[in-house]
């Protein structure tokens, strides 16, 4: 049974979502965090640190997708590539 091996690469979708979230949270954490926000999270700049964590996650998924690309059988038309989403 020969099937389409990859619809599109889910790993890149995950990487993209967390890249967007990570950048937003890092910017908010660095530039738009006041004393009240810090006090609420017990002194932790949680936006910044979560943002950094998300960027690392995004990078890991992107790296994985880059190192081990999905093998698409020849007979599948090539228009279903990762990256053409949203």
């Amino acid at each position: 049974m020969v099937r389409k091996a990859g619809l599109f690469d889910l790993r890149l979708v995950i990487a993209m979502l967390f890249a967007v979230y990570g950048v937003v949270l890092v910017v908010v954490g660095l530039g738009f965090t006041d004393e009240a926000d810090l006090a609420r999270a017990d002194g932790l700049n949680i936006n910044l640190w979560t943002g950094v964590g998300m960027l690392v996650l995004a990078a890991l998924f992107a790296l994985w997708a880059f190192l081990r690309p999905v093998v698409v059988p020849d007979e599948v038309d090539g228009d279903l590539k990762a990256g053409d989403q949203v």
């Binding site: 099937r3 979502l17 979230y21 999270a41 979560t50 964590g53």
Partner: protein
């Protein structure tokens, strides 16, 4: 279910938080549109064309169960009972998931059935098939409705959105991506949801632990609190089971929760098994529940611990635990209350997205398993046979729409009569309870007859009903979760006894029909999985992975027991 008083849980979500939520919806719908391009047959739509890699199906396997009722309920149990709640994960899931992968999956995947009811049809014929297909299909749409209502209720509480608005919006989003991309879209979104849920809960746990002074601070505060130090150890969980004798309590947990309830749920619930059936090879299918078991073993740390922290940090919850419920807060509010207490804008948006994601994961799992059973097991078997495949693809899409509409109706019904939700859930636990007994007998005992298949299921279900009624009316005194453990145990035993008795008096199924379905009738090579190509490598061995997660679970029990 959360029937909540007027506690103020309103979060001060700002434009940033809504923007983060909107980004997520764009991704979710985008996956639906992209997945649509790969749907060209009913098998593509309803079983992802059996093409997915094991890490995807494995994460979807636990994500499908990580609905928000589960999330909120387990955090609530954490707040109320403490560490004993981990039993729902360690005893109540891991062994069953490993068993499904190692022992049962060769029959499910190897026989090429397209659903769990279809396995029953081939093993036992029409009687057992109809009982299971009908009860499962009905359960999934009604539970989807319960999920929708719970989602809308929470959004109303946290963000002030009107309930009908939330029900319709959430249903429309789930419907859009499942009707477009079928199971692939549902599964891909479940994987995405898994990471978003973790991204919401992990920072919450870290901030919470920081707030209470680290792990030691939490230990001190809980020990000094109304629950006492007992709440920090998982065993013997007398408070959770409602069984006073510690030895009986442990037996109740191990057999009731660990054996009957959990094996029944994880190994026969098609909403779960479907994820494994969509895997691309026998090896990947066997690894699906086992790969899922690893995050399942670890995720209580970001669900239950926030619950425990909430009972310490949130003043209203601490008061409730000390016996003063006047603030109107209930344990089910533990997670949203902690989110409101600790997270600033930004993380708040991620947390709201995580809760929403988990609700939609639950609803999508219900809908995408309903449409498969409806199309293949009800429509194709009993209504319109032998049509071309495009016909069934269309039926699958229409069933998705119809199922979602029924779910919306159920949600509005639940909004009108709060207790209906409790009864719906109780009702379907009755059908679930005896299933594992019938499956395990059917897979390993070739003599078991067709009549034994359906009579065992019916008798087991009735036994669960009897225990439920006895406990509800107070004839048997079982507080806590004890009643559901005992009910499931009774269903299991009665199912076995009736199945064996009926088999003695009825004719067995002809042996040639049992190839691939019963252990002794299946050639060894049919039960094997390939170990070459993308299934090669010691780290892809289902047995090794299974042993690994069992060892991990034992270690966790020793450390946190």
């Amino acid at each position: 279910m959360p029937v909540l008083a007027q506690a103020d849980l309103r979060l001060d979500a700002g434009p940033l938080d809504y923007a983060l939520l909107a980004v997520y919806f764009v991704f979710v719908l985008g996956i639906g549109f992209l997945a649509r391009r790969s749907v060209s047959s009913s098998l593509d739509f309803l079983l992802s064309g059996r093409s997915l890699p094991a890490w995807v199906t494995g994460l979807a396997f636990i994500s499908a169960n990580l609905g928000a009722i589960e999330l909120l309920g387990m955090a609530a149990n954490g707040a109320q009972y403490g560490m004993a709640t981990v039993h729902y994960y360690w005893i109540g899931a891991i062994p069953a998931m490993v068993f499904l992968g190692l022992v049962m999956m060769p029959f499910y995947y190897g026989s090429k059935v397209r659903s769990v009811p279809e396995f029953l049809r081939r093993r036992f014929g029409t009687g057992a098939h109809l009982v299971n297909a009908l009860s499962f299909a009905a359960a999934q749409v009604l539970i989807a409705g319960v999920n929708l209502y719970a989602l809308a209720f929470l959004l109303n509480l946290m963000l002030g959105w009107p309930i009908p608005f939330s029900v319709v919006i959430a249903a429309a989003i789930v419907l859009t991506y499942t009707a477009l991309g079928g199971l692939s879209a549902a599964i891909y979104n479940e994987v995405l949801q898994f990471f978003v849920i973790v991204a919401a809960l992990l920072p919450l746990t870290i901030v919470g632990l920081h707030k209470v002074g680290g792990w030691q601070g939490l230990v001190d505060k809980v020990t000094a609190g109304p629950g006492g130090a007992e709440q920090l150890s998982a065993w013997p969980a007398t408070e959770l089971t409602g069984i006073q004798n510690p030895v009986l309590s442990v037996i109740g947990i191990v057999f009731g929760l660990g054996f009957v309830l959990s094996f029944g749920y994880w190994t026969t619930n098609f909403a779960e098994v479907q994820r494994a059936l969509s895997a691309k090879s026998m090896s990947a299918a066997r690894r699906t529940p086992i790969i899922g078991a690893y995050p399942k073993a670890l995720i209580p740390f970001v669900i239950i611990i926030p619950g425990i922290i909430a009972a310490v940090v949130v003043p209203e919850l601490a008061a409730l635990k000390a016996g003063d419920g006047s603030a109107g807060v209930v344990y089910n509010n533990a997670l949203p209350a902690l989110i409101g207490e600790l997270l600033p804008n930004g993380m708040l948006g991620i947390a709201i997205t995580g809760l929403l994601a988990s609700f939609m994961a639950g609803v999508a799992a219900n809908v995408s398993s309903f449409n498969t059973v409806f199309t293949y097991d009800l429509w194709q078997d009993y209504v319109r046979k032998d049509r071309p495949d495009e016909y069934y693809l269309r039926v699958g899409r229409l069933a998705t729409i119809g199922g979602t509409l029924v779910a919306i109706g159920t949600a509005f019904l639940a909004a009108g009569y709060g207790n209906i939700m409790d009864y719906i859930q109780a009702l379907f636990s009755f059908f679930n309870a005896p299933l594992f007994a019938t499956f395990i007998l059917g897979m390993f005992w070739k003599r078991m007859s067709a009549a034994a298949g359906w009579t065992g299921l019916v008798a087991g279900t009735l036994a669960a009903v009897v225990v439920f009624v006895l406990a509800e009316t107070g004839a048997v005194d079982l507080p806590g979760q004890g009643a559901s453990f005992v009910g499931a145990g009774a269903a299991f035993v009665v199912d076995i006894v009736v199945s064996v008795a009926v088999t003695m008096w009825t004719r067995p199924v002809p042996e040639e029909r049992l190839v691939g379905l019963v252990w002794s009738m299946t050639p060894k090579e049919n039960r094997r999985h390939s170990t070459t190509g993308e299934d090669a490598g010691w780290y892809r061995s289902p047995a090794l992975l299974g042993i690994g997660v069992l060892v991990l679970t034992v270690v966790l029990n020793i450390v946190f027991g």
